[in-house]
């Protein structure tokens, strides 16, 4: 009986192993450069911005930046609100900050998920949602691979965003 159990355990371990991927290296960091472009408008309001990471199953892993100010407008970040915000008030309280003026910004993701655990190596998607009152909305998605090799990529400007640079390094 014991032997059988052990075999079962070993067998399930073997099956499960491929999904038991290694965590990304401890030193792995993703630096993000982000630009709020200058937009000529009769009524200009600072945009609401959400930047987050989802895993291969499209499950949110970590909200990196959230620039909204008042929580009444969180829902206007339609995708972020539906996927992340509405489900976890603690995330909102943890990351929310004021809206930012036109300019260039730099922030980093430490490779940890929302619970503070280092994420596994694998395929992820980088998301940016930007919404401006009296203005437009852009929803940017970029597939990324987080492993033991660094990368640097640029995401083309949209109406509401300037050039975005992702720099994943170890």
């Amino acid at each position: 009986m014991k032997v059988k159990n052990l075999t079962c355990l070993l067998f399930s371990l073997c099956i499960a192993l491929p999904s038991w991927a290694k965590s990304i290296p401890e030193t792995a960091t993703m630096d993000i450069e982000f630009v709020i472009p200058n937009i000529e408008a009769s009524i200009y309001a600072r945009p609401y911005v959400a930047v987050w990471i989802e895993d291969k199953q499209r499950k949110p892993v970590r909200t990196i930046q959230l620039w909204v100010g008042e929580d009444e407008w969180l829902k206007d970040l339609r995708s972020w609100w539906r996927k992340v915000g509405r489900n976890d008030r603690a995330v909102v309280d943890a990351v929310t900050s004021a809206t930012r003026p036109v300019g260039q910004y730099r922030f980093s993701w430490d490779g940890l998920d929302q619970q503070g655990k280092r994420v596994e190596q694998g395929d992820y998607t980088f998301y940016v949602e930007v919404v401006r009152e009296h203005g437009g909305r852009n929803y940017i998605r970029q597939k990324i691979q987080l492993a033991e090799e660094g990368f640097n990529m640029q995401l083309e400007p949209t109406e509401e965003t300037g050039l975005i640079t992702l720099d994943y390094h170890l």
Partner: protein, 277 residues
């Protein structure tokens, strides 16, 4: 004493007249349009609702009342609107939503009875507002092809504060009902939506529903989606464009042993939004 009786009579008359008016308005589909479907503000927020009866999608027309409006809270209890006013082409009510979860807002009318009959040589179908009990006193002696229909419409929508929930939707077991299998706050343009219909509490096949996007006044075609429920009462459709929609579903069936009507014609008019993908 007599005064009191007269007063009661007046009130009764006005209620009757009111219900008749709302049934007359029934010819125009009655629906509700909330100012928002989603609330993210901590501590809650006010929303406002327009109620009207009209042939255009989100074009105000006839002043359907909001006096019967109810808000089914996420825990299942019922609340009334905070402010109700009636204009000439719509009525309005406001409500402060503060509890987390999904609320159903419903403006259901009272069942209305219509008797169709033919009398005279021309075979014209005539109608009176009477149920089976009342009709015997009202119909001409020569009446034939007599049939009484009970009509009931649910005008409803869903409001979600924070995280969606699904406790607010127990079946009443009466008339036509829609169960949102896809949570109303999860309706996203380009993604399939699944609902289920129940007629008198049982899953109902063959319920016809048409789904129309906002703004019929500004396009040449209705561009409606037509669906019919399957054996288990399910419908599935995909709103391709983000926006506000009305789903109008109705079902007619014979009533075997109702003392008041021969047929039932029950409708659900659901307003929902498909958010941007």
């Amino acid at each position: 004493m007599l005064n009191k009786k007269i007063n009661t009579l007046i009130v009764l008359c006005s209620i009757l007249a009111g219900s008749m008016l709302s049934s007359v308005a029934n010819a125009h589909p009655r629906w509700v349009l909330p100012s928002h479907f989603t609330i993210s503000k901590e501590g809650g927020d006010w929303l406002t609702f327009d109620v009207t009866a009209s042939h255009g999608t989100f074009v105000m027309d006839k002043p359907a009342g909001s006096e019967t409006a109810q808000i089914i809270m996420p825990d299942g209890r019922q609340e009334r609107p905070d402010f109700v006013l009636r204009g000439k082409r719509r009525s309005v009510f406001d409500f402060f939503f503060s509890e987390e979860g999904t609320h159903r807002v419903q403006i259901n009318n009272v069942p209305g009875y219509v008797t169709h009959y033919k009398a005279g040589k021309r075979d014209t179908v005539k109608r009176i507002r009477a149920n089976k009990v009342e009709r015997s006193n009202l119909l001409p002696e020569t009446s034939r092809d007599i049939s009484t229909t009970v009509m009931f419409t649910r005008a409803e929508t869903y409001i979600t504060v924070g995280k969606p929930s699904d406790k607010a939707f127990p079946l009443e077991g009466k008339f036509l009902e829609l169960q949102p299998i896809t949570k109303p706050a999860d309706i996203v343009a380009t993604e399939p939506v699944r609902f289920q219909f129940f007629f008198n509490g049982k899953a109902q096949a063959g319920v016809k529903a048409e789904i129309t996007r906002d703004g019929t006044l500004y396009r040449n075609q209705q561009d409606q989606i037509d669906v019919v429920s399957d054996e288990q009462g399910f419908i599935e459709f995909t709103p391709e464009i983000a926006g506000r929609y009305i789903l109008k579903a109705s079902h007619t069936d014979k009533l075997a042993d109702s003392p008041l009507a021969d047929k039932m014609n029950a409708s659900v008019h659901l307003t929902f939004e498909a958010i941007l993908p």
